[in-house]
């Protein structure tokens, strides 16, 4: 059993001149986990630390021995969940996707399983309600097949409903898909998608910004903060977000709001405008979202030769 030391409360950032250590993934992972172990930690709190000290990495804020303890605990926790092969990306080191920096509180470190190179392909997020109508399921399938035909990588959140249909249809159509999940890699959620998560991790790409140790805290309601943040990251990773169906209070609308804020294209399928109980489609259309009557409406806005895939 690994003992994890808590971080000394008075530990302050000490950057010796402007020297920058090489990025050691093990140490950075532990330091990121240690930062998140702070009671007050949130994505904003973490991002503010890095904004105050541009060019820093997690280990600049955490003593090495503390980072090492958290790193060991993280590896143990992931191993206990059957995850041995995974990677991390750190802002400031090579291959970190700079497109993430458009987010309000861009993540400094993320975990992944699978084929990282998918991040460099042209991605479009397909998202929506966890309880879709049959028509929305059919629309998602049709939409995803068209995106795959146009060589786009379909990005979604592995949730029930539209997300699941998006991932499964992409695989069925022979396309590529990325899951940006709202749990740590060590947690398979929802349970019925456990096999799907493993398949995506094996054959495609699963990304998580959620700290492994923090997530294990006794109060699970705290973990709700991670779902909307993953939607913001999903928008930042992709060229556009397409909403198939969403309720007035859906978490999907977080992604809609941030897609526009990040100057990404936001597409809303026509059916949403015909539901008299929904105000959000009209509101977002006024803010710049694109109303989609058929796939050509998406295609003409995503014109351009896809990168070599």
């Amino acid at each position: 059993m690994t003992t994890v030391n808590s971080m000394p409360a008075d530990y302050a950032l000490e950057m010796p001149g402007k020297l920058m250590r090489a990025v050691s993934p093990f140490r950075e992972m532990g330091a990121y986990e240690a930062l998140w172990s702070e009671l007050r930690a949130s994505f904003k709190w973490v991002a503010d630390k890095f904004r105050e000290h541009p060019g820093s990495v997690p280990s600049d804020f955490v003593p090495d021995e503390v980072a090492a303890g958290f790193a060991r605990k993280t590896v143990d926790t992931l191993a206990a969940a059957g995850i041995v092969h995974f990677g991390i990306r750190v802002h400031g080191a090579g291959e970190y996707p700079m497109k993430l920096r458009v987010a309000d509180h861009p993540v400094e470190l993320m975990y992944f399983q699978g084929w990282w190179d998918l991040v460099e392909s042209r991605g479009v997020a397909v998202v929506g309600t966890r309880q879709p109508s049959e028509q929305s399921v059919a629309r998602t399938r049709k939409l995803v097949r068209s995106l795959v035909e146009d060589k786009f990588t379909v990005v979604s959140g592995l949730a029930r409903g539209i997300d699941t249909v998006a991932h499964l249809t992409t695989m069925d159509a022979g396309g590529r898909t990325i899951a940006v999940i709202g749990t740590p890699l060590s947690v398979r959620y929802p349970r019925e998608n456990s096999d799907l998560q493993d398949t995506l991790a094996q054959d495609f790409l699963v990304i998580s910004q959620v700290p492994v140790i923090r997530y294990d805290r006794p109060n699970p309601t705290e973990n709700r903060i991670f779902f909307p943040e993953r939607n913001i990251t999903m928008s930042a990773l992709t060229e556009a977000t397409i909403i198939v169906e969403a309720g007035e209070t859906s978490g999907t609308l977080v992604q809609a709001r941030h897609a526009l804020k990040q100057k990404k294209k936001l597409f809303i399928l026509e059916n949403n405008f015909h539901n008299p109980s929904l105000k959000w489609p009209h509101r977002f259309e006024q803010m710049g979202a694109i109303r989609v009557r058929d796939y050509e409406d998406i295609q003409k806005h995503l014109a351009g030769t896809p990168l070599q895939n």
Binding site: A22, V23, P25, F26, G87, G92, A93, D117, E120, L307
Partner: protein
């Protein structure tokens, strides 16, 4: 802000067949195989850097020179960020090209890169090893070989000269 060097450590060592515990290996970027030059900035840099010598004079040859300069510049920034004094005391030894010097395909891109890297400092750069016969080394994993297996192919200078240099530095 320079890109930081990354270190192969306990988390990533298992991805590399011939790197063992205790080996110190730092790198700037990751090349993604079979994806072409358009795939990422790193792929673009590596593709241009490795452009074969028989393309000299053809369209696009100028990108090789740019890539050599860019790689040297990036490495210099990353090393200076790590420790601005290190370069002035270090001995830099480029991996030898796979071709012998008399071969038309002989490519000294790494030596050129080190010249850019050392601008204004003139660090100790030595071709400690050089090919004495055509090598069949490849970079793809199934062809990769441990450094000790390469020794018969390369002739090395005496280690004592490195040690002296290190001590005096």
């Amino acid at each position: 802000m320079p890109v930081r060097l990354s270190r192969i450590d306990d988390l990533t060592r298992s991805d590399h067949t011939f790197i063992e515990t205790g080996d110190e290996c730092l790198y700037l970027g990751e090349y993604t195989a079979r994806k072409g030059y358009q795939f990422s900035e790193t792929n673009n840099l590596i593709f241009n850097l490795k452009k074969p010598m028989d393309r000299r004079g053809q369209p696009g040859w100028q990108y090789k020179k740019h890539a050599i300069e860019e790689a040297g510049r990036q490495m210099r920034m990353a090393l200076d960020a790590l420790n601005p004094k290190w370069l002035s005391t270090a001995t830099l030894v480029p991996m030898p090209p796979s071709k012998v010097k008399s071969d038309p395909m002989y490519d000294d891109r790494l030596m050129q890169m080190l010249q850019v890297l050392g601008t204004g400092i003139h660090p100790d750069v030595r071709e400690m090893s050089y090919s004495v016969r055509a090598s069949r080394l490849r970079t793809r994993p199934r062809f990769a070989r441990a450094s000790k297996d390469c020794l018969p192919t390369f002739r090395s200078m005496k280690l004592s000269s490195i040690l002296r240099r290190t001590r005096s530095g």
